[in-house]
Symmetry: C2
Subunit: 373 residues, 2 copies
């Protein structure tokens, strides 16, 4: 029986388990702690920065994949040299780990993206502000997510701290034009080693405080063909294996610009769990094992995903199941068994049907019941 | 976090796990051996005939439920006396464990069923044959499933062995009229302790060699209202908790007769995993925890389930995934990780859509690829 090993014990590893159970595959998780979200499948606990621990976990697996993008590339290359199938491989993954590497690659591929530059000094930042300001975006090339490692600035002094320890970011910061976008979209896709590539329905993502709050699939009226071709160009040129999310800005003119890349199942694709013939988690497992990809078509006119973020350290969504389930028998509940903390991704709701407005209203009302302290 | 304990480590316990993961519940399984189909969730290994082992497993669970119907009723009553929530409770479960108890209860409720009698002797059998023969059905009241413990006979001599050890069956055999049915149906439902009751779409079941081979939901043109009311009458009068399957004969005149009962998720309800808003496994977990029941509506015009039975001790369905998945990207694969054996339930396929004939043809062709040695 094929064995997939996942580095990282977060909710993405957790949500691979139902797909593995259905397909009859074995999933093993290398988690950081005993009480991870994927604890059920955590067959090893350890430090993903320690090569020997990584290797010991990986050696019995048919393929290694990821719950997050924090494993140092050189360790993944070592695993590959030791004959382990790392999927996506480090040469692809570096583009999701390092935003400057991604920007340079997208430029080389001629794909649409915001104006950008690498900055080594305050002077570089000021020059970019002069050209694209008054406000620009500054990002640390590595380690950022959900708004962390990202600042909107109008003065180089606002990133003086980052400039002061620029070596810890690889010697450069990423500067980006602050795009005047009309909305954000996400194109989920999957590619397997033998080359097969499939996209999921293009989704619209709605952020609150830089964290994904709601997702609508398909995105109402968008340039589906352009999104698909951007994803295909990236997946094929980088030889990505597994699920990839391309986060996109849509300009007021309807043009798409690449914002970020994730090479793993992604929050913007959770709608697929209850909305599509094949979920992103099943598709990821198929892809990393080089099995034929599943049908990604949406079973409904619309699927809506509503994120459940932690309110504080005491909130307990489960305690509100009786009232939420009684009022919303059609809602699919997904809770991650994580210790609650303000703003933490604790779960999500999926709704499917033909009336988008009704789905959104029901989802938000259901969330309100779960949030009720 | 609520904990559900399942007695028995078969595929039904296994398939409760994805539902538990999604809902954020904890599932614990009391399995007979280390390598059970539900091994991932098997937190205890032991003998379900040993009260102390059962109790040690059950004491930390919010509710105890079942993968099979073999746990002796008196042990379940003891668990109840010890304050453990046994769901369904032994007073309901006995009707699924003992077919004579069921027949007597259905008669008391005035529900439609084949002509039947209890037999203690060859004379009783001959008398029933004289009235309902030339062929009748003889069943052992306890321990039968998938055609085991069931014989078609035209002479009492054909059950001489059973009559000779009749005490091991409780002192009586069950005799049933051999119904001239046009097809078999299954009404799946769920009830929770506070009384809420919901049915799933009525399904048609197709047996081969007394084992379920295919299921079609909804059953084309049937007396849906009658099936629903039979299920409701049984569930409410017996105070069933959890999912219950009522297996029905449909006579050429369209009348429904109760064949058998199962008080747990059932093979005839696997279509719900990919066909309905709420799967039978999620519904069962909700019911045994007394949570509001989910929406059971079918998301498609039709859902089809195709069973995968073991061919011999060497066959390996997984080895055929590459060709089966390539030809049938729309098929949902479910494999149970059981050691293969001829005739054993090894997995199933689910297909959903609007053209029933196309679904059946695709499902059978996909199965043929998986069966290919």
């Amino acid at each position: 029986m094929p064995i997939v090993g996942v580095i990282g014990g977060g909710q993405l590893a957790r949500m691979m388990q139902p797909a593995a159970i259905n397909l009859g595959l074995e999933l093993r998780v290398f988690a950081e702690s005993e009480n991870s979200s994927a604890a059920l499948s955590a067959t090893s606990i350890g430090d993903y920065n320690d090569y020997e621990q990584l290797r010991a976990f990986a050696v019995d697996c048919d393929a290694i994949t990821f719950d997050h993008e924090h494993v140092p590339t050189h360790l993944l290359s070592e695993l590959e040299q030791d004959g382990i199938a790392v999927r996506p491989g480090p040469k692809a993954l570096i583009h999701a780990q390092n935003k400057l590497v991604m920007r340079r690659k997208l430029a080389e591929l001629g794909l649409p993206q915001p104006a950008w530059a690498a900055a080594k000094s305050a002077e570089d930042v000021e020059a970019f502000i002069a050209q694209h300001g008054p406000k620009i975006i500054v990002k640390t090339p590595i380690g950022g997510y959900d708004g962390k490692g990202v600042r909107v600035v109008s003065d180089a002094a606002q990133v003086a701290d980052w400039l002061g320890k620029i070596d810890s970011f690889g010697g450069e910061l990423l500067l980006e034009q602050k795009v005047d976008f009309s909305r954000e979209l996400a194109q989920l896709s999957a590619r397997r080693p033998s080359g097969e590539f499939k996209t999921f329905p293009l989704a619209q993502t709605i952020q609150e405080n830089s964290v994904c709050s709601e997702v609508i699939a398909p995105a109402p009226q968008a340039d589906f063909a352009a999104a698909k071709e951007i994803a295909r160009a990236i997946a094929e040129s980088l030889e990505v294996v597994g699920v990839m999310a391309v986060e996109l800005f849509e300009t007021p003119e309807g043009k798409l610009l690449v914002n970020e890349l994730a090479m793993r199942p992604h929050n913007s694709g959770h709608f697929s769990m209850d909305g599509c013939k094949t979920s992103q988690f099943e598709q990821h497992l198929r892809a990393v094992l080089d099995l034929p990809l599943g049908d990604t078509s949406l079973n409904f006119d619309f699927a809506v995903m509503i994120n459940l973020l932690g309110v504080d350290e005491k909130n307990d969504f489960l305690a509100h199941y009786p009232s939420a389930m009684a009022s919303f028998p059609q809602v699919k509940f997904h809770l991650y068994q994580k210790a609650p903390r303000g703003g933490r991704k604790m779960g999500h709701l999926n709704l499917t049907g033909s009336n988008l407005d009704e789905l959104l209203v029901a989802g938000r009302n259901c969330r309100a019941i779960l949030y009720n302290q």
